[in-house]
């Protein structure tokens, strides 16, 4: 969260180094998804009880061609299911 905000889409902020399609940065603030680490596993989408995430396609990215995007970040209830299940630890939850 210390990194400067460089953009905004789907109702959340984007931080870090962003040079699409290779570098996508960190999406979200309370639900922060490092889309450069995300491998498109999708476990966060299935475990989230309040449907915070949705797929977004990322053609040309090194780790995967689709990413999890916190499109309903505002609905997060901080249960940390996504954070604990992500195989590459790409999600960080912060209660704001």
């Amino acid at each position: 969260m210390k990194k400067p905000v460089v953009g905004e889409h789907n109702a959340h902020k984007i931080r870090g180094d962003v040079k699409p399609p290779e570098k996508l940065g960190i999406h979200g603030t309370s639900v922060a998804v490092d889309q450069d680490s995300c491998e498109g596993d999708g476990i966060c989408i299935s475990v989230c009880p309040v449907n915070v995430f949705n797929w977004i396609s990322s053609p040309g990215h090194a780790t995967s061609s689709k990413k999890s995007d916190p499109v309903n970040e505002i609905d997060c209830i901080f249960c940390r299911a996504c954070e604990s299940q992500c195989p590459v630890r790409a999600i960080k939850i912060t209660e704001l």
């Binding site: 475990v47 009880p49 249960c79 209660e95």
Partner: protein
């Protein structure tokens, strides 16, 4: 100044398992308090023992984490001592319907103006997943060596029999529905019960998100799951008693709904009756000074810290003479 969700949060480390339904209940409670605009200094959260019992630690308000099954007697004492407080009790299905079942029944009869929220996950989460009193006969969750040999209790039917005057069910992860249900329960004049169907992702692998969403029952026409939960209010059901003649038919209707389970699980308000006098009203009739000076407002010591009540006269009477 308007209250925010963060005004009801604490910094206490939360050790509920990731994905636990308790997070949905906690957030809904905090959202309800924000909407109701009750200041943290007017709220008391009381709990029994179990995973649910940690709730008061995570809510910035007064709180007592009491004994297993005994949250209600503590709450009754607090509410009677200071009726201005908004008293909200959190119990578990084991805590409130097993060891605490006697208190559950007798709290219904008293009809104090309080709210009781039961976190119903079908198991004893804290003690590693034994069957709780709400788990149905024949169901086997992962920590049980054999399927449940006992029938599950029906908390809504029990609450009707006990005399709770507001009886509702909601779901841990329908945060909007649960928030509104808690608000109605808090505003209700009398004893309100909210049963919350709660996931325990660690020990209850039967009543999961997929089970509630009906993912095992695909509609052949639409190809979509047929959810088990449905909303009473969206189906023309109205459990509110408006005149004395409504009591019996509305009780029967609520009881009928209370027995729906498995394929169709109703959520919403089953029964509400504000025609019944509250315990505070009954006490006020006997002790006319009670509303103005409940125990919390009574002066108990003089400015030297000495008790103002003297039992000398009583002791004098008991003195053995001759």
């Amino acid at each position: 100044m308007a209250l925010k969700l963060s005004d009801y949060r604490t910094q206490v480390f939360n050790d509920w398992c990731p994905g636990c339904g308790n997070f949905g209940i906690l957030t809904s409670l905090q959202m309800a308090l924000v909407d109701l605009a009750v200041k943290p200094s007017r709220v008391v959260i009381i709990s029994g023992i179990g995973c649910h019992g940690k709730t008061p630690h995570f809510v910035n308000a007064y709180g007592v984490h009491t004994l297993h099954g005994r949250a209600l007697p503590f709450a009754i004492g607090i509410k009677l001592a200071n009726p201005e407080l908004e008293v909200i009790v959190h119990g578990g299905d084991g805590d409130g319907l097993g060891i605490g079942a006697g208190h559950f029944v007798n709290t219904g009869r008293r009809n104090l103006d309080m709210t009781y929220i039961i976190h119903d996950n079908g198991v004893y989460g804290l003690t590693k997943g034994q069957a709780s009193p709400t788990l149905k006969l024949g169901v086997k969750t992962k920590a049980m060596p054999k399927p449940n040999i006992n029938e599950g209790i029906n908390p809504i039917a029990l609450a009707l029999a006990a005399g709770f005057t507001f009886i509702a069910r909601s779901y841990c992860y329908d945060v909007g529905h649960l928030k509104e249900t808690i608000k109605m329960a808090v505003k209700h004049k009398g004893m309100a019960l909210v049963i919350v169907q709660q996931w325990c992702p660690t020990y209850n692998e039967i009543n999961t998100k997929g089970w509630y969403n009906g993912e095992d029952r695909i509609d052949p026409v639409t190809g979509k799951p047929i959810p088990r939960l449905y909303k009473l209010e969206e189906n023309g059901y109205d459990g509110v008693v408006r005149k004395p003649e409504d009591v019996l038919p509305k009780t029967v209707a609520a009881l009928t709904k209370a027995f729906e389970w498995d394929d169709k699980i109703p959520i919403g308000v089953f029964y509400q009756n504000e025609l019944v006098s509250t315990f505070q009203e009954r006490i006020s009739q006997r002790i006319t000074t009670y509303p103005g000076t409940p125990p919390a407002k009574e002066i108990i010591a003089d400015n030297m810290g000495e008790p103002v009540t003297s039992i000398k006269k009583m002791l004098d009477e008991l003195k053995v003479t001759g």
